[in-house]
Amino acid sequence: MSPLDLLVAVPLCCMAAALLLGRAARGLILLAAPLMAGLALWLALLPPDAAYLVGQWELPLGILLRADGVARLMILATALVIGAVGLHALVEPPEKPGHAAQAETFWPLVYLLWAGANAGFLTTDLFNLYVTLEMVSLAAVALAAMGSLAAALRYFMIALLGSLAYLLGVALIVARYDTVDVTLLAQLAEPDLATLMALGLMTAGLLIKAALFPMHGWLPPAHAAAPAPASALLSAIAVKLGFVILVRLWFEAFPAITGPAALQVLGGLGAAAVLYGSVQAMRQDRLKALVAYSTVAQVGYLFLAFPLVAGAIDPGDAWAGMTLQAVAHMLAKAAMFLAAGLMLKAAAGERIADLGGLAQAMPLTVTAFGLAAVSLMGLPPSGGFTAKFLLLTAAIEQGAYLYAGVLILGGLLAAVYLFGALAACFAPATTPRTPVTGGLRTAAPLALAGLAIVMGFGGTALVELSAIAAPWAGPALILPEPAP
């Protein structure tokens, strides 16, 4: 018995059960959320070398599941986010009015996403990652389609392209090395054309999935149009899988062959994403579009961290900064989308200018939005701050002033657009408000935002957690002995 398999198996069981239960499947989340949170916690507390060969088949062939720090943090955050979003969706219908199909299919898709994300975070197998990537993409596109079909179709096409690029890279790796396991590739990889080509293709494909500028085009329309719980899942989780796979590729499988210049390509794109996403976010007059562009900017930080991690003498801080940024963004962005959904519903409009009076009408929801904004802006005390602080420290220590500048500027720009939205809530109401509050509805975003803030207090523990079995920390993973 190990959380490594249960974390994938439980959501799959839930998906099957949801299909069997039909409409009654909604309540399943009441069981799944605590169960998964418990499993995720269990995972986080496992000994550092926790690993697992599926079916006990040895490596070049089999699939290795492993709980490193990144996986632990991401899975914990995923459990919290999906749990909260699910509980929220229990009382706040995630579907468009009248779309019974969406109401029913929402749940199996969520569990598919959950299983896919967890499987992806845990596995070290590149092909297995492809399958999980598709699980997540499929669920994500379907969830996005609940809002805008056109946006979802565009998302689908571009995501498909990304998947194929990744698959092509995997194909080259399989052919070249006869294995797709990251830990093995770390020992085998050589900087020849095929490997580089594979790395380039996989990277480019995954950047699409991660929505890094300039491949982010699909994200804002899809995330902005989807129902709030769906948007929350998309922005929080779907884009993170691409990021995690890239981390596996660049820092675990191929650190030996990725040159500093290549890292600068990613870092540069990340920096550009921060600035571009922020500028676009500032220009939006619809709340959810703003939040979606904020995701574009926030994703930029993740990649801006790549050269910082690689360039650090002691990469622990930058690594933790990168990981915590992902986690903090998950929590905060999910909270923000949920809150935004409630606010827009109460405002009966989708523009920022419609938000007037909400600070009075639904203070807790606006508080959740505000707390999430604090984390996204990187203001203390929050997970976002801890992450940016670590990254900024690393950037300055390395003399990477350009990145440091972008980190600082990005926070400021975020403040400009997020406070703009927040301020709109304080404006007097133009029409009477019918607040949408109460119970899980408000509690979910508030809890998530609160967690994003609380993260700021547990910095040391989180940094230590992120460092578990990190690629830079020491020798490669000691594989468990196969059963006799």
């Binding site: 565009r154 380039g200 480019a204 491949m215 982010h216 699909w218 040159g259 600068q264 990613l266």
Partner: protein
Amino acid sequence: MTADLTLLLPLAVLWPMLLAGLALLPGWGPRMLMLLPLGPLPALAAALFAPRDTPVALPGVLLDGGLDLTATGAIFLGGAAVLWFWAGVYAAVYLRRDGRPAAFALFWNLVLAGNLGVFIAADIVSFYVFFALVSLLAYPLVIHDRQPASMRAGTVYLVLAVTGEVAILVGLMLASFGAGGAIGIEAVRAGLALPSAHPAALPLLIVGFGIKAGLMPLHVWLPVAHPAAPVPASAVLSGAIVKAGIFGMVAFLPLGTPAAVAGNVLTILGFSGLFLAALLAVGQAGAKSVLAYSTVSQMGLVMGVLGVALAAGSAPATVLPAVALFALHHGLAKGALFLGVGLAPLCGRAWRWGLMAVLAVLGLSLAGMPLLAGALVKSAMKDPAGALGAVLIGLSALTTALAMARYLAVLPKAKPRRRPPLLMALPFLALAGAALWLPWLLYADVTGKSPLAADLASKLAEAWPLGLAVLLIAGAVAVGLKPPALPEGDALGPVQRRAAALTAAARAALRAGSRSLRRSRPRKQAVIGEDLDRIEDIFREGAAAAILLLAIAGAVVAASLI
């Protein structure tokens, strides 16, 4: 026993403050007005009985300040106490129908406290605090009747007072620093004498005290403010409060060490004030204005003498007693003259003649009529004043006499058949008596010389300017010559108008400038916005994604190959 008597010093300032506090109690205002004379009594006691040069430390107050009564200070303190006392008695009657007795009592007592405190402060911080108290809180007294003229006068007063305060503050800072951070007045004065003293310290102090004391170009507030106040307030303003400025100079001028520049400037300004102000006084239409200018003139004399002494490096002991004595006489006499202005309308017939007689004697005394107290103190001043100074002082009798004649001429007409109330006449007479008597009494003590030692004949001979003045007045009256009508505050009006015009111009320029700045902001935002939209549309295309995918893959490969 001595220790107990030193406590008179803090009591001298705390007692009026207590009275001021009582005035704040609702309904106590009129009562406190009656109690005004009580204020200076502890100070009087202190001046008489408190031991000299025995500092009283007040730990914890301000910067660990203290009080100290010097011999010179005692004369100032005593004179001021007498003046305030009688003026208080006068005020209690004069203002008995006043609409704001509480306010008057409050500020009267506060100013009193400040005024007395100035004379007994031992450290510069306390000194400055008292000085500010007397300086600024006199403002409500000036504008007490709320007439437009008073308000205008008050504004002028306040502007110059604040300017003076700042000058003094900065001067004291510089001086204190020059003295190694010491705050004792003696130490600071010694520090000012050092070559290392900041060059700006002394000029700033002279300017600051000069404003208060009516040094010539800085005197403009005085002729407008003194007449504006109620009569008793005018009396103390001109008689006692102005002395605070003089005392400041007395306390801080580093006498004994030649300071040529500062001394000569002070001399020139002081003596020119002596004559110019007196001449301006002749041109005034109001009795109080005449007196105010006369004060400027008299104070000019004091400051001229101080300037001479400063430039010459005369020892303090040779100068200060004379100055103190002169100030005492002037304060009491001027107080009496002001009270006389208030009495004049109330004195019909015989009373008026009596009044005029006393006033004339006082005027002659001020002018230096031999055998009167004024001549005595002037003669004391001539020693430190140097040769030229002595001549000038002698000549000033002419101008002073003219001014006094003018004063008598413009004294308000009496309403028929009025007789002054006792409690107003008594203070007047008491002050007049004190002015004429006290210098005689103290002369020997203070200067160490006998008041009668000088040759009477030579004194009479020196009084020729006074005789000339009498002739001139007689002539003028005979021909019906009228003096030119000069405005109160002479140069003040034109300067104010110029200043107002300048301010308006500056305002307009500023406004125009800021408007032009605001206008020139280009509006390009929309264009950039459209471009951004277009870029974003491109990114949303699958084709773009595909090409970018290839480009990024290529870039990663290329970058790895580098």
